[in-house]
């Protein structure tokens, strides 16, 4: 199989996922109409589908640790962030869910989503067992949402103050970078399932040969993904906090408080 064939044929149109997404979209419009920001919601769904339907998913499913890492980042950082951004600005959380709005819980959820699912046993189970994989996906979305709530909650009052938000994001960034560094330099396989993939699609020669991705190199790229690009997501969020901080102003008579 060539790269082109892989990119065109390895789409796995999972009916359950498509149904879920359609339901979510319908639910979103039923609940909020156009009060929210539907563009973000559609974006979240598209990236969610890219992560779980496209060839990325095929590669992450037992072939490449690095592809798994990209999927992981999309599900834990990008999709929940877009989901929170899509909510109407006036929305606040029902009282029963307030437990999840403590900053420490958010921080532990965000960092835990990275560390927990890369414990060798869990990472292996998620790669080899379908049920665990589903649990992983759901937990990543939830933990990511809890994490981002502190920075992206719909109402400004529900978010951390900008400087506290910077500290929150920066420490989370460091905690994840440390894991990235460990994965990059670990001489042993963190997720042994990726070492000897079962070649379901007949693409192992393509990956190992033409792409030159040995399993060592693959894990290194996975670690680097967590270390560098993921850090950049946090850095972007930190800069957004700075922008928010610098644009906070007193309610001037001539300028209404937006």
């Amino acid at each position: 199989m060539t790269t082109y064939q892989l990119l065109t044929t390895a789409w796995e149109w999972n009916p359950t996922l498509l149904l879920l997404c359609s339901l979510a979209l319908a639910g979103y419009f039923l609940a909020f109409g156009l009060r929210g920001r539907p563009a973000y919601f559609v974006g979240a769904l598209v990236i969610f589908l890219v992560a779980l339907v496209s060839p990325l998913n095929a590669l992450a499913d037992g072939y490449l640790f690095s592809a798994h890492m990209v999927q992981h980042i999309l599900l834990v950082l990008i999709v929940p962030a877009l989901l929170l951004l899509s909510l109407p600005r006036s929305l606040s959380l029902p009282r029963s869910l307030r437990t999840f709005t403590y900053p420490l819980i958010g921080w532990i959820a965000g960092v835990g989503a990275m560390w927990l699912w890369h414990a060798p046993a869990l990472c292996n189970a998620a790669t080899t067992l379908k049920t665990v994989s589903v649990i992983q996906t759901i937990s990543l979305l939830l933990m990511g949402s809890v994490f981002w709530w502190q920075a992206l909650a719909p109402r400004d009052a529900d978010r951390l103050s900008p400087l506290a938000g910077i500290a929150y994001l920066f420490t989370a960034c460091i905690a994840c970078s440390v894991l990235g560094i460990i994965l990059t330099f670990a001489p042993v396989s963190i997720c042994p399932a990726y070492q000897q993939p079962i070649d379901r699609l007949g693409i192992l020669n393509l990956i190992r040969g033409q792409w030159g991705l040995t399993s060592d190199r693959d894990q290194q790229i996975g670690g680097l993904m967590m270390w560098v690009p993921m850090c950049l997501i946090y850095v972007t969020a930190i800069l957004a906090q700075l922008v928010r901080w610098q644009s906070q102003s007193a309610p001037h008579p001539e300028k209404s408080h937006a």
Partner: protein, 744 residues
């Protein structure tokens, strides 16, 4: 008899009379005034600038001619090592710290730094470190391994004299001093601002140095961890960086550059701060895009911590690492470029006053742009492979270090000297310094780009008579004399103007930040009265009441000032986190490469768990003690505190028993990599527990004496933060060292 009494009385009077005491010579040695400490920093920096400059001059003399034997090869190696180390740790950092120390408290309207005595300690560690470093010359020879001291060259088998040991200890000491100052800067900015000086109204020099302090507390501890490992290798026969015994020479490079790259920004960010103050004042315009300059500094700080790999492209890290580090290094050009645009746009359309500080800033802009462009070229891996160990790289980093940083420092001297001394520096002599510097600097270093591209390698004491090499090197050497002349004129200018310069007045440059709102030099307490602060340019608002700057943030002078003790200890804990992180990662790295000999299986896990429970329980007892204190139950507080000390002591006894068992079976630091990393990690933790115990004992003693009245709660709570931190570190050490092997 009578005479002695009179002398004693006079002596007492001299000590007790503040006016006379101010002139007493010892006052400069015992001072805790941030202004005097700043001047001491600057003078120390100037002294070592001369030392490092002479070292550079000697090297350039050696290189002026091909096949020259003016210096021995080994002397040359010592000279470039000492030149690099001196210029970075004993010149640029102290000089920038000096400016920060003088200006930052004034700019935020504070009386002094948050911790004046810590400030004095931070300064005195600089001469101490400098003496340690240079003492190596008397103790068998200066280090000859480069300022980065690459292993295994810097290990005992290859550098057997004590030079590297003195180098490592000196840098360790200097690192502690820098961290002390960084903690002080953060605590000062957070908890010592004047009413109205909100965080968003901070002048850029203060803001940038505030951000810079965070880089210091994350980067320097990593270096200190590396230096500790190097010293353990050299003094206790550890094996961290010795490939012969399973160690990793590349690990040293990772640790060193994880510090070394942020270090570049630690040096250059204060220069950015200086330029961001001077260019607006001399263009008679507010800075263009304050928010962008402020935010891009944060972006630089964040990115700087994850790009060190670009110093190691020639090591052979593999293509994935090269690729990612190349991309992240290229990204740094964006926030830096934003800054250059901001400064240029500030000048655009301004009424530019061409005085000496502005001269230096304009030269800074042009030279820094060149430095940035050659810098980005090093992010391109194949190009880096070709130019890395050549004079092209020397030219690049001297464009940063001299063309940007030294020029900014010279601008700052001219700009702030009137505030420090009350007298202006001579403009005429300043222009001589400027033009000699510009000519000398560019003559020396532009040509080195081409020398490098022609293939002249760095760190060689001489070269053959190849085409173009001779005249290029000669030109480069001639340039150094221009710079030396510039330095001599600067020193002359400083001395002459100090005694006979024009009287400056409070605000000679018509600047807008608070340091110009007080007398020159400022009184001991800095300000008699502060102007209202509503914007970033309070003095502009006073001078132009009809068109003041727009109010920044809320229109009130209310500010929140967190407690300085807690801020300080939390910052300290952040820096300690970096230190332990480096040690734990090094432990894990070698744990994954097992060596023959003892393994974690030798450890007594159940017993350690019991002793660990004692340590964890001590956090609980401390918490009870705090509660008792807040309820003013002295007896109960003393009891819980004593129990805390006892539990901490029991933990140390347990650790001692573990060590004793290992020693008895012949296992010590030098046995194999497991033992080296084990003793290093647990040893440093134990040391921290011990220090925590000492602190708690002091508190116990104070409380027992009844000296622990109200008003000291925050100090007690701060000690508690540290104690809890030590316990949390143990959670991670326990998991890595004792629990992880059980999971296999």
């Amino acid at each position: 008899m009578n005479g002695t009494t009179t002398t004693t009385a006079m002596f007492r009077a001299a000590i007790l009379d503040p006016a006379k005491r101010a002139h007493y010579r010892l006052a400069w040695l015992s001072t805790v005034d941030h202004k005097r400490i700043a001047v001491l920093y600057l003078l120390t920096g100037l002294f070592f600038f001369v030392v490092g400059g002479v070292e550079a001059l000697l090297m350039r003399l050696q290189l002026a001619l091909p096949n020259n034997h003016f210096l021995q090869p080994d002397t040359f190696n010592q000279l470039f090592t000492m030149h690099g180390t001196t210029m970075i740790f004993l010149v640029v950092m102290p000089v920038m710290f000096g400016f920060v120390n003088y200006v930052l408290p004034l700019q935020i309207g504070a009386r002094d730094m948050a911790f004046p005595r810590l400030n004095a300690l931070g300064f005195w560690l600089v001469p101490f470190g400098g003496i340690l470093l240079h003492f190596s010359v008397l103790a068998g020879g200066a280090p000859a391994v480069g300022w980065f001291s690459y292993t295994p060259l810097s290990e005992t088998p290859y550098s057997s004299n004590l030079g590297v040991d003195y180098w490592a200890v000196a840098l360790f000491v200097l690192g502690i001093g820098s961290i002390a100052l960084a903690i002080n800067i953060i605590a000062t900015v957070i908890s010592r601002r004047a009413p109205g000086m909100t965080m968003r109204r901070l002048p850029l020099f203060t803001w940038i140095n505030f951000v810079n302090a965070f880089i210091i507390i994350f980067a320097l501890p990593v270096l200190n961890a590396g230096l500790a490992m190097l010293l353990i290798d050299r003094q206790l026969e550890g094996h961290f960086f010795l490939p012969l015994r399973g160690g990793s020479a590349v690990l040293w490079q990772h640790i060193f550059w994880a510090f070394g790259h942020p270090e570049v920004y630690i040096m250059v960010l204060p220069a950015f701060g200086i330029v961001s103050e001077i260019i607006p004042v001399f263009s008679r315009k507010p800075i263009f895009g304050y928010e962008f300059v402020a935010a891009s500094s944060v972006a630089i700080a964040l990115l700087s911590l994850s790009v060190w790999g670009h110093h190691m492209f020639t090591v052979g890290m593999g293509r994935p690492l090269d690729l990612f580090f190349a991309i992240s290094s290229l990204l740094i050009a964006i926030p830096t470029g934003v800054k250059v645009l901001n400064w240029t746009a500030t000048m655009l359309g301004g009424r530019i006053r061409l005085q000496v500080p502005m001269f230096f800033c304009i030269a800074f802009l042009i030279q820094f742009l060149c430095a940035g462009i050659t810098g980005v070229s090093h992010a391109v891996v194949p190009l880096d492979w070709q130019t890395k160990n050549s004079y092209f790289l020397i030219a690049h980093f001297h464009f940063v270090a001299v063309g940007a940083i030294v020029f900014a420092a010279f601008a700052a001297v001219q700009y702030w000297f009137p505030k420090m001394s009350g007298r202006l520096l001579s403009e005429k002599l300043g222009k001589w310094t400027f033009w000699l510097m510009v000519i000398g600097f560019n003559m020396t270093f532009i040509i080195q780009h081409f020398l490098g591209l022609l293939g002249m390698p760095r760190r060689v004491f001489t070269y053959p008579d190849l085409p173009h090499f001779t005249w290029m090197n000669m030109l480069s050497t001639v340039g150094v004399f221009f710079m030396a002349a510039a330095a001599v004129i600067l020193v002359w200018n400083l001395v002459a103007s100090f005694f006979g310069g024009k009287i400056a007045g409070d605000n000679p440059w018509n600047a807008w930040t608070l340091e110009w709102a007080t007398t020159s030099p400022p009184p001991h307490e800095n300000f008699h009265a502060l102007p209202p602060i509503r914007s970033r340019r309070p003095l502009w608002d006073i001078a132009n009441p009809d068109r003041p700057d727009p109010i920044v943030g809320e229109n009130s002078s209310a500010i929140s000032l967190p407690n300085k003790n807690k801020t300080g200890i939390l910052t300290f804990i952040l820096s300690e986190t970096g230190f332990f992180l480096a040690l734990i990662l090094a432990y894990l790295f070698f744990y994954a490469h097992p060596q023959p000999g003892p393994t974690p299986r030798e450890l007594d896990v159940p017993r350690t768990l019991i002793f660990s429970v004692c340590l964890f329980a001590s956090s609980f007892t401390f918490w009870r003690s705090e509660i008792a204190m807040s309820k003013r139950q002295r007896g109960s507080m003393l009891g819980w505190l004593a129990l805390t000390v006892a539990l901490g002591g029991i933990f140390l006894v347990g650790q001692g028993a573990e060590y004793w068992k290992l020693f008895k079976t012949g296992v010590d630091v030098s046995t194999n990599l497991f033992s080296t990393t084990f003793f290093t990690l647990t040893g440093f933790h134990g040391l921290h527990v011990l220090l925590g115990l000492v602190a708690l004992l002091i508190f116990l003693w104070l409380a027992w004496r009844g000296d622990f009245a109200s008003g000291r709660e925050s100090a007690f709570e701060s000690a508690g933060y540290y104690w809890h931190f030590v316990d949390i570190v143990w959670v991670f050490v326990l998991l890595t060292v004792y629990i992880l092997p059980l999971l296999r």
